[in-house]
Symmetry: C2
Subunit: 153 residues, 2 copies
DNA sequence: AATAATTTGTTGCTTTTACAACAATATTAT
DNA sequence: ATAATATTGTTGTAAAAGCAACAAATTATT
C-alpha cells in the first residue's frame, strides 16, 4: 500500500508512460517507411473512414485534438489531395465537412496493410481476448475521466 | 473482426487516447490548485524520491524524457530550491547527481496529499484489484514495446 | 428589435517537445 | 600512442501542442 502514495504508481501515470512507447513506436515506423503522411494524418484518415461526412469540430472531438490542430491536419491532407472539404450546414450552422478522395481511400488502405505487420507482431504475446479486455478497460476508464476532464474542443 | 483493420481500434491507439485524458486531467488539476510546480516537475520529484542519488540520464530513462528536457526540468527545480545537484562519478564518468532538499521532500509530501483526493475519487468505479490488473497489463505491454522501440535517451 | 451568447473555423503566439550537434571525458581499437 | 567510439550533459533550433482572440453566422435573451 505504500506504493500507492506515489503518483508514479497510479493508473494515470502508468497509462501515460505506456502511451509514450506507443507514440514513439508509431512515429518511428512512419519515419522508417516514408509513407508520405505522418501518424496524425493517418489517424485522421482512419477516423474519417469510419465517420463519413462529419464537420471539423466533430472530427476534432474524435481524434482529441483542438480545432486549430485539426484544421491544420486537414489543410495538409487536402494539399495532398487525400481529402476534400465542402461547405454544409449542421443544425443550421455553416460547417466544413470532409470527404475522402478516392486517392485518400486507396492510401489509407495501402498504409493500413503496410502497418499491419509492424503492429501485429508485437501484441502476439498477449492473447486476443486479453487485448480486447485491456481495450475495454481503456474505454471504460476514458468514460470515467470524461466526466471529470474539461476537454475544450 | 472488421474493426481490427482500423488503426484507431488497436490497443496502441486506445492507450494513447486514454493517456490524453490523463494528461489533461493532471495539468488541469495542477493549474487549478496553483501549486508552484507543474506536473512534470512533480513527477520528477516523485521519481527522485524513489531512486536516491541517480544521475540525470538515469532519471531521464525513468521519466521517459530526453536529456535536454530532463536537464531543463532539473534547472527549474534547482531554482526553486527543491533539489540540488552535485558532481559525482558513475563507471568512472563524470555525472551530475541529484538530491532532494528538505524543502523538496516537504513539497512532494504536501502536493501528494493535496492530489490524493483529486485522483482518488475517480477510479472509485474500478475495484482496487482491477486497477492493479490494468497497471500490470500496462507494465507488461511496455516490456514488450521496449524491445521494439528505440528510445534514444 | 437590439443585445448577448453560442457555434464553427481560423490566425497568431507561447510553451513544450523532439532532435541534431557540440564539449568534455573515458574507453576501445588500430 | 593515436584515432575512433561511447557516455553524459548542454545548447540551439525546428516541429508540435496548447491556448486566447477573432470573424462570421445563428440562436437566445431582454
Amino acid at each position: 500500500m505504500i506504493k500507492e502514495q506515489h503518483y508514479i504508481n497510479t493508473l494515470y501515470y502508468q497509462i501515460e508512460q505506456t502511451a509514450k512507447y506507443c507514440r514513439y513506436l508509431g512515429s518511428q515506423v512512419f519515419n522508417k517507411l516514408n509513407l508520405g503522411i505522418n501518424v496524425e494524418e493517418f489517424v485522421t484518415l482512419d477516423t474519417l473512414s469510419l465517420h463519413g461526412e462529419i464537420c471539423q469540430r466533430d472530427l476534432a472531438k474524435l481524434i482529441l485534438k483542438d480545432r486549430p490542430a485539426t484544421g491544420r491536419i486537414l489543410n495538409s491532407l487536402e494539399e495532398k489531395e487525400l481529402i476534400e472539404r465542402f461547405a454544409d450546414t449542421k443544425n443550421n450552422r455553416l460547417v466544413r465537412k470532409i470527404i475522402m478522395t478516392n486517392n485518400g481511400k486507396k492510401t489509407l488502405k495501402q498504409i493500413t496493410g503496410i502497418l499491419k505487420k509492424y503492429l501485429e507482431k508485437i501484441p502476439h504475446e498477449f492473447s486476443q481476448s486479453k487485448i480486447e479486455e485491456i481495450k475495454n478497460n481503456m474505454r471504460e476508464f476514458r468514460e470515467i475521466l470524461e466526466k471529470e476532464v474539461e476537454m475544450n474542443i
